[in-house]
Symmetry: C2
Subunit: 128 residues, 2 copies
Amino acid sequence: MDSTPPRIGDAYDPDCPTRQILDRIGDKWAVLILLTLKDGPVRFNLLRRRIGAISQKMLSQTLKSLEQDGLVSRAAYPTVPVTVEYALTPLAGGLIGILDDITRWAETHVGDIMAARRTHDGAMDEAA
Amino acid sequence: MDSTPPRIGDAYDPDCPTRQILDRIGDKWAVLILLTLKDGPVRFNLLRRRIGAISQKMLSQTLKSLEQDGLVSRAAYPTVPVTVEYALTPLAGGLIGILDDITRWAETHVGDIMAARRTHDGAMDEAA
């Protein structure tokens, strides 16, 4: 018996929303936000500090998209000033491992890719 | 013994190119192109047909970025008209499994995400 859930969408169908979802979950800010929430809820300001060099506007926008997509939940506590915490939803749970893999791949192969760029640019210079 | 290659980059360091690489490999067009090359070299026109609704310009640009990053190789054969084929490099080999996972995740959960969006929009309407 195959326990893999069925695929509902088709990334190769331009009319299927899968393509747009792929765009949203592949966005580097979405990846970094979701991975930062991996170990539990985090407040807005701490999220911003942990991610580094993300503008307040970009962080707000990306969190809003993730909330709309049901990947992040938002809880506000009536403190002064109000405390707002973000957390992963159960739906995001299955995605985290994949985002961890892709980030680890990028972190491991950054040297290979930078070397490929230098080789490519060198070949272009010689051809010019 | 741990045979995992060491991480060289840090996605949380804004000055590390890992972040930019994450952006390039998470791009939906890059994902669809790399997965289309999974089973062997493919010509430009066939790539365009298989992916569907990708403009010639976007396909050219994304292939060029992937070539620069050492993920795709390009071979031109002196036929009339000239035949140009694209193929995965060994470096891309390790990435394909992860891109397959992320696409499968999106295809499987497209229904959950669309439902979350409807619920979210409904709650916003009620609050308005």
